[in-house]
């Protein structure tokens, strides 16, 4: 093995590993399927080229390109990263809340195909199909690029930069910001309802991944000194996807392993096929592509988590300190007779307390069917308001409109005196209006504790910039959040499962996780959609008592529930819906006295 071979191998491995780390960050961590990933690497390559090269008139116009600024190293590589990152910005509109992930992926794929077509055909831009050649190597002219010392130094820089990228993505992922990205990956609608701005999160991920891809492209062109559209066809993205899937999406070591196995490995294996045979010239490359396609399908079937699966994040709970605290706190919380307190507040309290949530004339149509028709209601501070009605009465639709998951056809909603009708769900959550979902909606591949922590607003580490600044910057916020989460887990008796994946819990436990997660946002108004469905009656009663206690402290709850015993015991007032309209409102005792309500719902 000569040193040229080794240098070549190491540089390709570094470049591919970098690209795979960027892609893994997007696809494995944040769930953004960027089928156009290769154009970010391509853009970085071209940027590094035209930044480093002299003006295209310098060598007699044998190739034409824009730029030609002849900048010294390392500015071309810096420029490559900047251009790769900036290229992500036009795609912001594709990755918002509304577009399905697979449609956005198609949009990015199509973009990759067409950008390649355009660059291939439009020669003045980047010399078209022929591509750019004679790209200067870094510090060419100062150092002699032909020496093996130079080559080794280049290799070292590439490997160090790759290691730097690895440390960067790890720092991002193992932060509250990274946890938010993983939450978005597991369930974006729920992340939205907890106050996460999906569009800005996804844009951030496209920018970081794009910058990493751009840098890898810059390093690559500086080494091979040529760059043309044939090097970055749309299918090259699929190779990187294959690498990330095989290595293990969401695991950064897996991304590096995948890079070594797939792009580098394929290149190396084909070296051993003798070139002096009678095979058709295109056969081996074609079969390579077939093999990559097969690998993707086979791995997704037999080992979708990859060779190195995403590892579980264990977060240590400060158990000793909490034990002391809970000794004083816990029994009191659970044994306190909540009903007595409530009846005292119930008679005089609700009518006097201010309205925190108001809906006026809310209507929602689904293709001509009015699921909710002209509903107006008010919810007062400190109440645990029940919402009942037969199936199809429009309860969940109403809740979804109140929370911003579903836009109303007409009507207005105000929360705490602020008109929130036009606000998207995540902004309403930030105002303090938070919902839970009727269907299981835990973040499956986050532990129970992480599920809770993911909902905490205002953690300094829950932003790209904050995550980059590191644990020293956000560590104290995190510790405070862990303490809150632990107290909540203890209160609901789920401390033992804090380190388990939420997706592995029983149905009842998952409902609890969801309620606790909503509570972690410290909501002013909490909208619960059948929080006790599938929960053991004893546990349901315990949830009810906790909610009453929270309402006493000033929180407001609007709760959809079918179990009338729960309504009887905890809710006051109760709103009855039927066929999309509000039928009546009052205490359960009052409602039972009204014939139209009984006929609509309470019979039996």
């Amino acid at each position: 093995m000569n040193s040229y071979y080794l240098i070549n191998l190491l540089i390709y491995a570094a470049v591919d590993a970098m690209a795979c780390l960027g892609l893994s960050q997007q696809f494995g961590i944040a769930g953004v399927t960027n089928f156009g990933f290769i154009i970010f690497q391509a853009a970085g390559g071209y940027a590094a080229a035209v930044l480093a090269m002299p003006s295209d008139s310098a060598n007699g116009h044998f190739q034409s390109y824009i730029g030609g600024w002849h900048l010294p190293f390392p500015l071309p590589w810096l420029g490559a990263a900047v251009v790769g990152g900036a290229l992500a910005l036009p795609f912001t509109f594709l990755v918002g809340r509304r577009l399905r992930g697979d449609f956005a992926a198609v949009g990015l794929l199509v973009t990759a195909v067409l950008v390649n077509l355009l660059v291939t055909n439009y020669v003045p831009l980047l010399n078209g199909d022929a591509g750019i050649s004679l790209i200067p190597e870094p510090l060419q002219g100062v150092l002699n690029a032909a020496t093996s010392g130079y080559q080794w130094a280049f290799t070292a820089v590439a490997v160090i930069l790759c290691a730097g990228v690895y440390l960067l993505v790890r720092r991002l992922t193992e932060s509250p910001y990274g946890r938010t990205l993983r939450a978005m990956r597991d369930n974006d609608t729920v992340a939205d309802s907890l106050g996460k701005d999906l569009r800005s999160l996804r844009t951030g991920v496209l920018v970081t991944g794009g910058a990493i891809a751009g840098l890898s492209g810059g390093i690559l062109v500086s080494y091979i000194t040529t760059w043309s559209p044939a090097a970055w066809g749309y299918a090259e993205t699929v190779v990187l996807f294959a690498a990330v899937i095989i290595g293990g999406a969401g695991n950064h070591r897996g991304a590096v392993l995948g890079a070594v196995l797939v792009p580098v490995g394929f290149e190396e294996v084909t070296r051993f096929i003798p070139s002096s045979n009678n095979l058709p010239p295109n056969l081996i490359p074609s079969l390579e592509w077939v093999a990559i396609g097969l690998l993707i399908v086979i791995f997704l079937w037999f080992r979708p988590q990859g060779i190195l699966p995403e590892r579980k994040r264990a977060i240590a709970l400060p158990a000793v300190a909490a034990d002391v605290q809970s000794g004083a706190d816990d029994p009191q919380e659970l044994t306190q007779p909540t009903l007595a307190r409530r009846s005292g507040a119930g008679s005089a309290g609700p009518d006097a307390s201010p309205v925190v949530l108001r809906a006026d004339g809310l209507t929602r149509e689904f293709g001509g069917v009015r699921a909710v028709s002209d509903v107006s209601l008010t919810v007062r501070r400190g109440t645990l308001t029940g919402l009942i009605g037969p199936n199809g009465a429009g309860k969940s639709t109403l809740l979804a409109m109140l929370a911003g998951t579903l836009p109303p056809t007409s009507g207005t909603i105000s929360c705490l005196g602020q008109d929130v009708t036009a606000l998207p769900a995540f902004r309403r959550a930030r105002v303090g209006l938070v919902r839970t979902f009727q269907l299981a909606s835990e973040f499956k591949r986050l532990t129970v504790l992480e599920n809770l922590l993911s909902a905490v607003p205002g953690n300094r580490g829950d932003s790209l910039a904050g995550a980059i600044r590191g644990r020293r910057y956000w560590g104290s916020d995190e510790l405070a959040a862990i303490a809150t989460a632990e107290a909540l887990l203890r209160r609901f008796g789920l401390l033992e499962v804090a380190g388990q994946y939420a997706g592995d819990l029983s149905g009842g436990q998952r409902r609890l996780v969801e309620i606790m997660r909503a509570l972690m946002t410290e909501p002013t108004v909490l909208l619960l959609d059948e929080p006790m469905a599938g929960v053991h009656p004893n546990l349901a009663r315990r949830i009810g008592r906790e909610l009453v206690a929270l309402c006493r402290d000033g929180m407001t709850v609007l709760m959809v529930e079918h179990e009338l015993a729960i309504m009887d015991e905890f809710c006051d007032p109760v709103i009855v819906m039927a066929e999309g309209t509000v039928l009546a409102e009052g205490t359960m005792a009052e409602l039972r006295a009204r014939t139209e309500v009984v006929e609509a719902y309470l019979v039996g």
Partner: protein, 288 residues
Amino acid sequence: MSLFLASLGFGLVTASVLAIAAVGFTLQFGVTDVLNLAYGAVMIAGAFIAYVINNAGLSVWVGLPVAVAVCSGGSVALNSLVYTPFQRRGASPITMVIVSLGVTLIIEFGVQAVAGGTSVSYHLAQGPTLQAGGLILTAVQLGVIALSLVVMAGVHGLLRYTKLGKAMRATAANRMLARTCGIRTGRVITLTWALTGALCGLAGVVFGIDSGSFDATSTDVFLVLILAAVFLGGPGQAYGAMLGAAVIGIATEVSAAFIPADYKYVIAFVILLVMLGIRPAGLLGARA
């Protein structure tokens, strides 16, 4: 003006090819819920099957039904061997798209491995050139347009008047509900793969006829046109795809009269991205 009319003629032919492909794609997606990006690869496989038969001395028009049959059977096999098992396991839509990309590579480069990397063309006389009001079309081009019109009428009749068509529409609208209404959705889905696979093979051969020469990767860009037509009309909407194909086919060719021909696909690309960004349900997808 004559340039405009001449390009309009080309546009009609492209729109005809595109309509066959896009209607097949959109029905496939609507009924089976698989965004099958391997559609373009199956198309080019069909084009090459007809080429092999044509190259053996028979007419393209003999190769055409063979390609249709093979693509139909192949699509059914693709679904039952790959897509359905993944769907049964609860694979997310995005996993399905990645699987379909893997399948794309397998088929497209499998074809290239067998056929080699060079372009081929059918041995086909274009027939007499016909002129009408400034439009200039060859007999073969007219044949392609007529074939497309017949296929569109057939799809319309199928969806509108047959039991299978109604079952397909019901399955597309709500698979669970269709099943509980007594529709054998599994059978409907298999038949849909057979039908859309046939349309895909047909589209592949007429694509080969229309484009003159083609290689194994020729449908990469054509798939963009298909997607643009499908998303313009609304994914899953057969009539939307027809409308989309007409708009995209004519717009790309007419624009080629005014901008360099290499960039004619840009308009399709822009339409697709605008639709994805602003109205992913498509023009006719308001009810969805």
